[in-house]
């Protein structure tokens, strides 16, 4: 990993997880990998933070999980978005756009 990668911006991890899961059910590493790749290595996800976020979001009803058998005869945990999670993603995306456009205006002024 590039040395210039940083943790995701504080407060955005949940939104990025929701976004990843809006495409398809995924496991933890898949989500971390996607965030790193799509951000072109700018963001790196801390696995502890990721797993804590899963627990928090599952209890909030934003995501669901199920155990599935994996190819090497173990079980893997896969997460998927709930309807509530889908609504939350819309709301958080809107709020994020509102904030970033405000920052952009401030920087251009």
């Amino acid at each position: 990993m590039d040395e210039s990668s940083t943790d995701v911006i504080q407060g955005t991890l949940d939104m990025l997880i929701l976004k990843s899961l809006s495409l398809e059910p995924m496991h933890g590493f898949g989500i971390a990998r996607r965030i790193e790749q799509i951000s072109k290595g700018v963001f790196k996800v801390n696995p502890s933070s990721l797993m804590l976020a899963f627990k928090r979001m599952e209890r909030s009803g934003l995501i669901d999980s199920e155990w599935r058998a994996t190819e090497n005869n173990r079980r893997g945990k896969f997460y998927r978005l709930t309807e509530q999670g889908r609504k939350q993603l819309k709301a958080e995306t809107r709020e994020w756009e509102r904030r970033t456009s405000a920052i952009a205006r401030l920087l251009e002024a």
């Binding site: 971390a32 696995p47 994996t70």
Partner: protein
């Protein structure tokens, strides 16, 4: 609560703890395995990829500990969940036939570094005050108790009316408080008064004096 229910709830807590631990093991193993495969696809040997994956995750045990340490909190206010439960077995001193109320009434509300995250005190009516080791919140354990003796000042407690009325004189420990010297103060709602206590022996060594 009957002894059987106490045992059943204890087993459930234990069972849940093992299940949570197993799920954590599996999820971390799954993460390491997936990261290993990604490193192998990038050209590393299996052994080198496994090492790199463990570095990625920041240490398998560290990650588990981070997740574990917040496993029983209730950071989602709308969805609190029970981590474990504690009560005094009724049968330990036939509390249900001793008169007065039996059960938890209150806990110490004063935070002191001596007891914080270590020992919780519960006022338990006719079972006096109970000291509970809460260092492992998934497995609270009673480490000491004190049931004051009744005195000539202690009031009777009655049930029923008229000819059916039955009264017994019983301790009714109502509230408990602690201070930063480690003293424990209990008061009785049946006029027995105030007792000032301190821990001794093994229970005392749990506190941070």
């Amino acid at each position: 609560m009957s002894l059987l229910r106490t045992i059943t709830s204890g087993l459930r807590t234990l069972f849940r703890k093992e299940e949570v631990e197993r799920e954590l093991d599996d999820e971390v193993a799954q993460y390491v395995e997936a990261a290993t495969k990604a490193h192998m696809r990038a050209g590393l040997s299996r052994a080198a990829a496994e090492r790199a994956a463990r570095i990625d995750i920041g240490g398998v045990e560290t990650t588990k500990e981070n997740v574990r340490s917040s496993g029983w909190d209730a950071t989602v206010e709308t969805r609190p969940f029970g981590a474990s439960s504690f009560t005094v077995p009724e049968s330990s001193r036939d509390y249900c036939s001793r008169g007065g109320r039996f059960g938890t009434h209150s806990s110490n509300e004063n935070f002191t570094p001596i007891y914080y995250k270590r020992i919780l005190f519960l006022a338990h009516f006719n079972a006096g005050v109970r000291a509970v080791d809460i260092r492992d919140p998934l497995n609270p354990r009673e480490v000491a108790f004190y049931v004051p003796a009744v005195t000539d000042k202690t009031d009777k407690r009655c049930v029923g009316t008229g000819a059916d009325e039955k009264c017994k004189v019983a301790i009714q420990t109502n509230n408990v408080e602690v201070d930063d010297r480690g003293y424990i103060y209990i008061v009785d709602r049946a006029n027995t008064g105030l007792h000032i206590l301190e821990l001794t022996g093994a229970a005392r060594s749990i506190a941070r004096f």
